[in-house]
Subunit: 382 residues, 2 copies
């Protein structure tokens, strides 16, 4: 792995790095334009892009309250979209903080195509994965990548996972959240493929995520509702037996927050205790499945003070579940230096910023002196 | 008000009443059959029932995991549905515990009719309210009632609120949660009417409530998802300005739980801070609106121990928000004697079981000696 400068890094917020290494588990790389996929597409799909028969995804709202969905300073001088310039990302994120690894999660989720023309969606997923490997993962050894799939065709998704899953920098399958509940056994071929390839399964909302009453009337309302899609996915995965059926699989929910987890575990456990006769394939308390095999990213971190943060971690009942993410280059970027409340215990801070993600993704420990770099027992390396 | 026996009451769980009076804010009365509404319906609606042209609501699932949706022992010997027999309700609930007031919330929510034939839905709401007043509120002075409305026709709903709102035992307007977001200004006539009648606005899910990914595949899954409808209503009310537009209105969300409230307030505040330009009519932090003018019922209480319960209350930042409810006669009835963790501070226990609801609904203090029964300053009585 490439080590960042050994001098303390300085983020854009001007604070000095406190000496804690960072693994950023939600970094959104982007292509300059849809044309970037053309070299990786076969016909007839290539023609759909070249001739402009399909012009890409958009979102059903504007980001006018923030003047766009991204950090204003993340716009490359070259004019491409935010997140499309590796050198700028390196300067603003990878080297600005002591980032030891950055999990790329993209922005181009073929699930958004829907149930029509699923073969095209699968072709786009494959093209994106090839593009990601060629143009991003090869650029920096700190990058780790996600297998993008079109879950509307689970068999094709499984084939794609088998195709790119063995790449040494690929760590997870990414499922975009729209209105599909991924616990449905329809999607189990995806989980089987992830498990046999030793990959994690990550969820991340798309612009089509909804709350219980729809998307809301305003972007700010929608943004308050985002965690509901993540909570509902966890409930779906638990009730349909994905945790029981795929005992080696681990899940991570990105950009859906984490402070609701105590409630969700209590609620699932209460309902499980009274109604589990309906789902006899679920063999353990939902909270046990969750604590062992589900991880959550911090972003967007809520404004918690020290006492509140510590109480939430205590109510979760584990220091190992929450993992830091910046969400670069989005407007609500959380700085690794300021996203967490000040004066957290060093060990907890290290876990959230680095160690939990390092262990979860089976990454080597780059934060220790060279003679100490071998992993501890039982830690899978990839 | 009728006082329960002065001897300590004994609930079906056999525990001795600890001397704390109870206000139960979610009690589901039911009619014996749809025919009960016939005397209160004008033509042509009466005929719809009498001739069987409409046969009532049903639910899109069964309750097989619990053998029905209600306590088995709540089935009246007369054969009517659970919750339809006042004498049984009195024995099992009102007198079994030291219940000083019970807020009736019904089970027959005309919002479930949808957007067709809204005049019929409004007629059913009126008939139900008349039935409720004649057959329930008159039966026991401990009962307080809800104005049921068909919110799909807000003007008709407002007229109905004006019609029955002045009844001295009516305390709130009840909005059933399906997939409608009540913050939409379309519904503001309902809030105007509630405010001018000095009523609270209560929400309660219906069998058509959904989570962010739909209803789920199982009843247990749906039951885990129920809080999302409540959370989404609060987000909708905040963002659309209902708290700002109706400054005297207070809200209570029933049967959606409460342990998610710290998360929801933090999340709303964070998004408000960065995106409030989009909703300039919202003049205060969402958490300030919520703490001052929103209340939540406990039911279904999650299995919290003392430490967890105290942490949640502390994170909510107020002891005044959570109010106890049994949800009688539903299968997941919470006993006032066992629903809360043992050894809570007496003052907090009294607030949750009694005092918060007493103040919220402006009820006289029936728990003090007679010479002390006058309300404190600023407490509205009705």
């Amino acid at each position: 792995m490439t080590r960042a400068s050994s001098a303390p890094a300085v983020g854009r917020d001007g604070a000095r790095e406190a000496g804690v290494p960072v693994i950023d588990i939600d970094v959104h790389e982007a292509f300059t334009s849809l044309q970037a996929l053309v070299p990786y597409l076969d016909e007839p799909w290539r023609e759909m892009i070249v001739r402009g028969h399909w012009t890409g995804f958009t979102q059903p709202f504007t980001y006018w309250a923030t003047g766009g969905g991204n950090r204003a300073d993340a716009k490359p001088e070259s004019g491409g979209p935010e997140g499309s310039d590796y050198e700028l990302m390196r300067r603003q994120l990878l080297d600005a903080y002591d980032v030891r690894a950055a999990i790329l999660t993209g922005y181009f989720y073929p699930v958004m195509l829907g149930d029509m023309q699923v073969e095209f969606a699968s072709a786009l997923a494959s093209a994106y994965n090839s593009y990601q490997i060629e143009e991003w993962l090869s650029a920096d050894s700190r990058f780790r990548g996600s297998v993008h799939v079109a879950p509307q065709d689970p068999q094709a998704a499984a084939r794609e996972i088998d195709r790119v899953g063995p790449h040494p920098q690929i760590v997870q399958v990414l499922l975009g959240i729209t209105t599909r509940a991924y616990g449905n056994p329809f999607y189990f071929p995806i989980f089987e493929a992830a498990q046999r390839n030793g990959l994690k399964v990550a969820t991340h909302h798309t612009v089509y995520v909804e709350g219980a009453l729809g998307m809301g009337r305003y972007y700010v309302e929608r943004h308050m509702l985002i965690p509901q899609g993540t909570m509902a996915q966890i409930i779906s995965l638990v009730c349909s037996g994905a945790f029981d059926r795929f005992p080696e699989l681990e899940f991570v929910c990105l950009e859906g927050g984490f402070t609701w987890l105590p409630h969700l575990m209590w609620r699932m456990d209460r309902e499980y205790k009274s109604l589990r006769a309906e789902i006899p394939w679920v063999k353990r308390l939902p909270s046990e499945h969750v604590r062992e095999r589900l991880r959550l990213s911090t972003q967007p971190v809520e404004d918690l003070n020290y006492d509140e943060f510590m109480k939430v971690i205590d109510l979760i009942g584990s220091e190992d579940i929450v993992m830091f993410a910046t969400d670069y280059p989005h407007f609500d970027f959380d700085s690794p230096l300021r996203g967490l409340p000040p004066r957290l215990p060093e060990n907890l801070k290290r876990k959230v910023l680095y160690e939990n993600a390092r262990r979860f993704y089976g990454l080597p420990d780059e934060s220790r002196p060279a003679e100490d770099e071998s992993a501890g027992p039982g830690e899978a390396e990839r």
